[in-house]
């Protein structure tokens, strides 16, 4: 083979290297720019209406006086209750699947496949399920509790899968070390497995909760209201949520409502940002303790 053809092939390879590097860079720039345009648009429309009274006022049919307080509190109530229900159940399920269940049994295999599949079920389906089971069958009615139960079902698969992954990542040598000291299964779980899996469990759970925070579809099914002018003060109250209120406002013809809808979106994004930062901080803190 001649020297020139070798050199040509090298040049070709270097060119392809560069070409793909820029191609992938373009891919990430595309998604980032779409996000920036979206955020920029919302900020431009909404910042003007965003002030303290917007957060502390009741919704109103006059956009200049309308606020989001019931929706903000409703979201906090529902998400808080969802966390209380879904995290213990999800982590408990993950512990059972990883540490207790016989992995050769058909029960374990069916459970595993189904949990994976449930994570892909559209959220509206959970809404229908919640309506049938919680609202009607169990007669909980269109309340905060029914909403939280429905959202819990929706995010349980995600919490279970991420908790299982976190528990799996605990080295088996450490578990064996604990068992070899005569420490029982439960105390091994609380002594080394959960502390080591905690960062992963927390991250997965909080990200799942922030997904739940943005859901509107299943909650329409179980009776969240678009427009309320009272504040919730118990889990058996009726409620509205930020996504519901934003949806209600965007469906109105007046331009002023589009602006306060954008302001509502900003509040939601701030809320999501706070939860995600909390996830990162918690992960850092627990990881430092472990290492």
């Amino acid at each position: 083979m001649g020297k020139t053809s070798k050199r040509r092939r090298l040049a070709q390879r270097l060119f392809l290297n560069k070409f793909f590097e820029y191609l992938f860079l373009a891919a990430i720039l595309l998604s980032i720019s779409v996000l920036l345009i979206l955020v920029g648009d919302v900020l431009r429309k909404g910042l003007g209406s965003l002030d303290w009274s917007f957060i502390t006022s009741m919704p109103s049919s006059r956009p200049e006086r309308a606020g989001i307080l019931p929706a903000l509190l409703g979201t906090l109530w529902v998400i808080g209750l969802t966390a209380l229900i879904s995290i213990p159940v999800g982590v408990g399920t993950a512990i059972y699947l990883e540490e207790y269940a016989n992995k050769r049994s058909w029960f374990f295999r069916i459970m595993n496949i189904n949990i994976g599949n449930l994570a892909g079920v559209p959220s509206i389906v959970y809404g229908i399920l919640g309506l049938t089971v919680f609202v009607q069958l169990l007669k909980i009615g269109p309340t905060i509790l029914a909403g939280a139960l429905t959202l819990s079902l929706l995010i349980l698969p995600v919490i279970i899968v991420s908790s299982v992954e976190a528990i799996k990542a605990v080295p088996s040598s450490v578990k064996e070390g604990s068992y070899a000291l005569g420490v029982s299964r439960w105390r091994t779980i609380t002594g080394v497995i959960l502390p080591m899996a905690l960062p992963g469990i927390l991250t997965g759970s909080i990200l799942a909760l922030s997904r739940a925070m943005g859901e509107a579809a299943p909650l329409i099914m179980v009776g969240a209201v678009g427009f309320v002018t009272f504040l919730p003060d118990g889990i058996l109250d009726r409620y509205t949520l930020l996504p519901m209120l934003i949806y209600n406002w965007t469906s109105r013809p007046q331009d002023a409502f589009a602006q306060i809808a954008a302001a509502g979106i900003i509040v939601m994004m701030i809320l999501l940002l706070i939860t995600n930062i909390t996830a990162i901080l918690l992960r850092r803190k627990t990881q430092n303790r472990v290492e």
Binding site: N102, V174, E176, S178, Y179, L181, V183, G191
Partner: protein, 251 residues
């Protein structure tokens, strides 16, 4: 001479695969028994039967008898928590818990709840001293166990096992992940430990077995080919396969 553990007709299965075939062995008290043989010969499996670690693996089965001071270890109703307190184990790779040095030593007793809090400090000290680690860590007991070197971590794992006051120590190739200096330290330590404990050590190194052990067992394909005084096994083996192995003709 007392037999601490008596193994009779032990068979062991992983599913359908028979990993140990009709093992008979007497483990003598306050002696070091070394188990040698090529990888996959069953020596590690054998020591895991003695603290029932195989319970953790689905589909395993052991038949025959392992008698520990008269207690049948293969009894289904045996309290494995009590058993593992009396028969401690040190693993191939140091596996300290992601906790402080002190917490590592106290891990077992804190969860068994059988040592009063007032004795914890003393227990940490004596356990670390017995593992000849005390002078190296006495001023940093609250530091993470991961701040120690590999050899120190392994001695911490020994201290951790000693803290539950066992009678027997099982060691599964405890120096295979360590450098020669750290290995020498552990071997020295074993000499000390056998005064108080009965030690069973799996090793991939025949030199190590010859250096430190009183008795040696040679495993091949799940069978115990030869067992006896280390001196005899190494200088005058009765089985041709043992001779071939220790002279380096295979393995």
């Amino acid at each position: 001479m007392t037999n601490k553990i008596k193994v009779e007709h032990l068979d062991f299965y992983y599913g359908n695969f028979q990993a140990l075939k009709d093992i008979n062995m007497d483990i003598h008290q306050n002696k070091i028994t070394a188990l040698i043989g090529p990888s996959g010969c069953g020596k590690s499996t054998f020591i895991k039967t003695m603290n029932r670690m195989f319970d953790l693996i689905d589909g395993t089965k052991a038949t025959g008898s392992i008698s520990f001071d008269g207690t049948e270890l293969l009894d289904k109703n045996l309290d494995v928590v009590q058993l593992r307190k009396r028969i401690g184990m040190v693993f191939q790779k140091p596996n300290p818990f992601p906790k402080s040095i002190e917490e590592n030593v106290l891990y077992g007793v804190k969860r068994h709840g059988d040592v009063p809090k007032s004795e914890w400090d003393e227990l940490v000290k004596t356990s670390l001293k017995k593992a000849s680690l005390w002078t190296e860590v006495e001023h940093k007991l609250n530091q993470s166990a991961f701040s120690l070197s590999g050899g120190q971590q392994q001695r911490l794992c020994i201290a951790r096992a000693l803290a539950t006051k066992p009678e027997v120590l099982l060691m599964d190739e405890p120096t295979s992940a360590l450098d020669p200096i750290a290995t020498a330290k552990i071997e020295e330590l074993l000499e000390e430990l056998k005064k108080e404990y009965t030690v069973i050590i799996v090793t991939h190194s025949m030199q190590q077995a010859a250096r430190i052990s009183d008795y040696t067992g040679f495993f091949l394909n799940g069978e115990l080919i030869e067992f006896g005084l280390t001196k005899t096994v190494f200088s005058n083996p009765t089985d041709k396969r043992t001779e071939d192995y220790i002279t380096g003709r295979f393995g």
